[in-house]
Symmetry: C2
Subunit: 199 residues, 2 copies
Amino acid sequence: MSSAQQKPKAKRDTKRLILDICERYLMQWGYNVFSYHHIADELGVKNAAIHYHFRTKSDLAVAVLLRYRARFIRWTQTVEALPPQAQLDAYMRLSLNFVLNQRVGVLVTLGTEYNTLPEPLQEQVKLLQDEIFTWFAALLERGRSSGDFLFNGTAHAMASLIATTMLGSQLLGRVRGIGPFEEVVEQVHLIVGMKRNSP
Amino acid sequence: MSSAQQKPKAKRDTKRLILDICERYLMQWGYNVFSYHHIADELGVKNAAIHYHFRTKSDLAVAVLLRYRARFIRWTQTVEALPPQAQLDAYMRLSLNFVLNQRVGVLVTLGTEYNTLPEPLQEQVKLLQDEIFTWFAALLERGRSSGDFLFNGTAHAMASLIATTMLGSQLLGRVRGIGPFEEVVEQVHLIVGMKRNSP
DNA sequence: CCTCATACTTACCTATTAGTCAGTAAGTTC
DNA sequence: GAACTTACTGACTAATAGGTAAGTATGAGG
C-alpha cells in the first residue's frame, strides 16, 4: 500500500476512533480481555498513542460508558413521543441488533465482570444500570396507565423483570443465535398484554 | 482383589480441590481472569502442580463444567417429586444463593465470555445450557398441565423467558444486591400464575 | 531391596500485559 | 522565527500469563 503517509487537512479524530473500538471490544469481549495493543494495532498506531489519549485503561472504559449513557438518554428522547408498545419494541430491537452483530450490551459484559472492575468503572456501570432500569419503570408505568400494557404486580417489578430478561436473552442469543432470542422477545409481548391481533 | 480398595491414606484430594477452586473462580470472575497461579497460591503448591493434574486451562474448565452439569442433573432428580411450584422455587433459590455468595451461575460468566472461549469449553457451555433450558421447559409444561401454572404462549417460550430472566437477574443482583434480585423472583411468580392469594 | 507410579518442585520459556519516559515531526500562535 | 502545543514513536519496564522439562521425595507392590 503506497498511501503516502500524508496528514491531510481533516485530522484523524483518533480519540473518537479509540472510543469506538473500545466500545466494540467491551460488547464483544468485555473489559478484561482486550488490551491497548488490540486497539493500537487496529488503528495502525503504537500502544503509547492510546495512553496519550487515555492515561489508563480504566479512564478509557469510563469515557466509553459516559458516552454510552449519554447516547442512551438521547435515544430515549427520540422515542418518547411513541406509544408505549412501540418504545418497548424499539428497545428490544436495540438488543436484537447487538445479538445480530455478535455483541451484547455493555451491562451484560461489565455486569458479569463487575467484581473485577476498577472502582470508577463500577460506578459507571451502576449509573448506566440506573438510567436504563429507571427508564423502563417509567415506561411500564405509563403504559399501564394508558391501557397499553396489562400485567400484575408493580410497574417497577415488571420493569426489573423485563430489563433483566433482555440482559439474559442476550446471553442466550450469543450462544444459540437469534431464534431463541426472538422467542423470548415474543414472550415478553405476551406477559405485558401486548399482541392484541396487531399485524 | 475383591477387597474394598480403601484409600491407603487420607491424602489430600488435590484434584478435587482444584476443581472446587476453579469453579469458584468461574462463578466469581469468569474464565479469562483467573490463572493457574491463583489456584496454586490458594492450595499452597506451585503453578506446575496444577498442570500436572490438568494439562491445560481449557481442560480444567471443561472438567469443572462436566462435574457441574452432572451435579445439576442429580439435583433435578432430588426435586423431581416435588410440586412444580416448589421445583421452580428451589431453582430460584439456587440462584439466590449464588448472589448471596457474590457469585453467578457459570452460564452467566461463560455465556458472556463465549466468543473468547476455547472450542471444547464452548461445547460444554452449550451442553449445560441445553440441560437447564430443557429441564425448565419440561417443568413449565407439566406445571401448566397440572394447573399449577397459568400463562400464555408455549411452555418452551415461557421456559426460555424465565431461564433468561434468572440469568439476567443474577447480573442485577451482583451490582445492586439481593433486594432487586428478589423483586424479580417475586414477579416471576406472578407471570406464571402462582401466588394466587397464597401469602 | 528394587522398581514403579504418584505427586509434586525447581527452573525455565515465550508471549502479553498496563504503563512510563524521552524524544520528535508537524502544525499554531505571537 | 521562536515558543508552544498536539499527536504521536521507540524503547523500555516489571509483572503476569500459560506451559514445559527435568529432577525428586514418598510410598506401594513384587
